[in-house]
């Protein structure tokens, strides 16, 4: 597989971890309780750790003195290939948890396949990350159940979150050109094949949480092509500020 296409394929996986990691890190010190604050930022740390592994690999592939930091901080909005779901802003806790659950369920299914990739670096990252992500899913799934089957208000809030975020789930299973090429080479995961199982599992948990499954057939897309929602620019402005203001600065 051509290097530049492999890099694009990796962005399609790694950028999700970066952007969701960044979103969760915004909650540091702002979680609804100390325990959930720590949990969400722990998850953020795992995701950023995984991002570093992917970006270090990209830096190696690209050569020419590129570093993981260049890749994280110096791309423009259109060059980030993360799905729309992960850039959605933190509103209330129900929304944050639902976003997390809808992503975790997909993330785990993806890594379960990626651990068999023919690419040794990608399968190593996946085997490491899978242990962390199964823990994330346990946490977010538990909370969806607790909120759904909780008080009238928690149920209403988590149901609203499910209804709003549902529109971003279909994109998870779209194949990009880089995906198709990586799949053909035995490197990538055919995400379209994960769809049925994903919705089956998600619906099962939502039912257990006494929530209703949205009937909407309209889905948003674009993140995988770099066409993001209006929230992405603000997120990147925060993320990139230091490197843009003080190029090459280090801790």
């Amino acid at each position: 597989m051509e290097k530049k296409n492999l890099v694009q394929y990796i962005y399609g996986i790694a950028d999700n971890a970066l952007i969701l990691g960044q979103r969760l890190s915004e909650l540091c010190g702002h979680g609804p309780s100390l325990e959930t604050d720590i949990a969400l930022t722990n998850i953020s740390l795992d995701l950023l750790g995984q991002t570093r592994s992917y970006y270090q690999y990209v830096a190696l592939l690209e050569g020419e003195g590129k570093t993981e930091d260049d890749i994280a901080f110096l791309r423009t909005e259109r060059q980030y290939k993360s799905v729309l779901l992960v850039e959605q802003p933190n509103t209330d806790f129900a929304y944050v948890i639902t976003r997390q659950f809808l992503f975790d369920a997909f993330h785990l299914a993806l890594l379960e396949k990626l651990q068999h990739s023919k690419d040794d670096t990608l399968n190593a990252i996946a085997r490491k990350a899978i242990k962390e992500v199964s823990y994330h899913l346990r946490f977010s799934g538990d909370w969806v159940k607790r909120l759904g089957d909780g008080t009238d208000i928690s149920k209403q809030k988590v149901q609203e979150a499910v209804n709003m975020l549902w529109t971003y789930t279909d994109e998870l299973f779209h194949l990009t050109e880089a995906d198709s090429e990586a799949v053909a080479e035995g490197i990538g995961v055919d995400v379209s094949q994960l769809k049925e199982d994903y919705y089956g599992k998600v619906k099962e948990l939502l039912e257990e949480a006494t929530l209703e499954i949205p009937e909407s057939k309209y889905f948003q897309k674009g993140g995988k092509q770099g066409i993001h929602t209006e929230h992405m620019g603000y997120l990147l402005a925060d993320l990139q500020y230091m490197q843009r203001a003080y190029p090459n600065m280090k801790w």
Binding site: T36, A39, G49, D120, N123, A129, E132
Partner: protein, 167 residues
């Protein structure tokens, strides 16, 4: 990325590496933690391979630097590499390491199944590191670092960390 299947550590280097500890759990040597996968001397240069406990563990950079420093003090040049595969598991924490954790106030990891029951709050099986009581409750599945969960003893009220099982 090099893949190491077996742990291989040169006997001469053990006393040096034994002195390097996890910065977040200072009582635990990195050898007892199981993060050193190999350390060999090639042409007077030490090549060390370490593996992270969790992908985002911020201690890894420090551990790498501490290893280089310890080896330098012992007169060795060194190169420390980080590999991800095979992925670290809590099974690699030695018996000595488990005892050190407990003495430090961190409950050592249970077996996978028991760990799941404990972290779902289904069973009271994590013993208090202060009084030994099993009458403890899960406070949070996530603790002060990525590798720990938070518990509290309902008898002596001591809050304590539990080192999560990772397989």
């Amino acid at each position: 990325m090099t893949i190491t299947e077996d742990k291989h550590i040169d006997q001469k280097l053990i006393p040096i590496l034994k002195k390097v500890s996890d910065p977040e759990i200072p009582v635990l040597s990195i050898l007892d933690m199981g993060v050193v996968r190999s350390a060999v001397i090639v042409n007077n240069k030490v090549e060390v391979i370490i593996t992270p406990t969790y992908s985002g563990c911020p201690a890894m950079d420090v551990i790498g630097e501490d290893i280089s420093k310890a080896l330098e003090d012992a007169g060795y040049e060194s190169e420390v590499k980080l590999v991800l595969s095979p992925a670290w598991t809590t099974d690699w924490i030695t018996e000595e390491g488990r005892a050190a954790l407990k003495a430090y106030g961190i409950a050592p990891p249970l077996e996978a199944e028991a760990d799941k029951e404990a972290l779902l709050g289904n069973k009271k099986i994590v013993n208090c590191t202060n009084c030994g009581s099993s009458n403890t409750k899960l406070v949070s599945q996530f603790g002060s670092t990525a590798c720990k969960a938070l518990f509290q003893c309902e008898d002596c009220q001591e809050p304590f960390d539990y080192f999560k099982c990772l397989k």
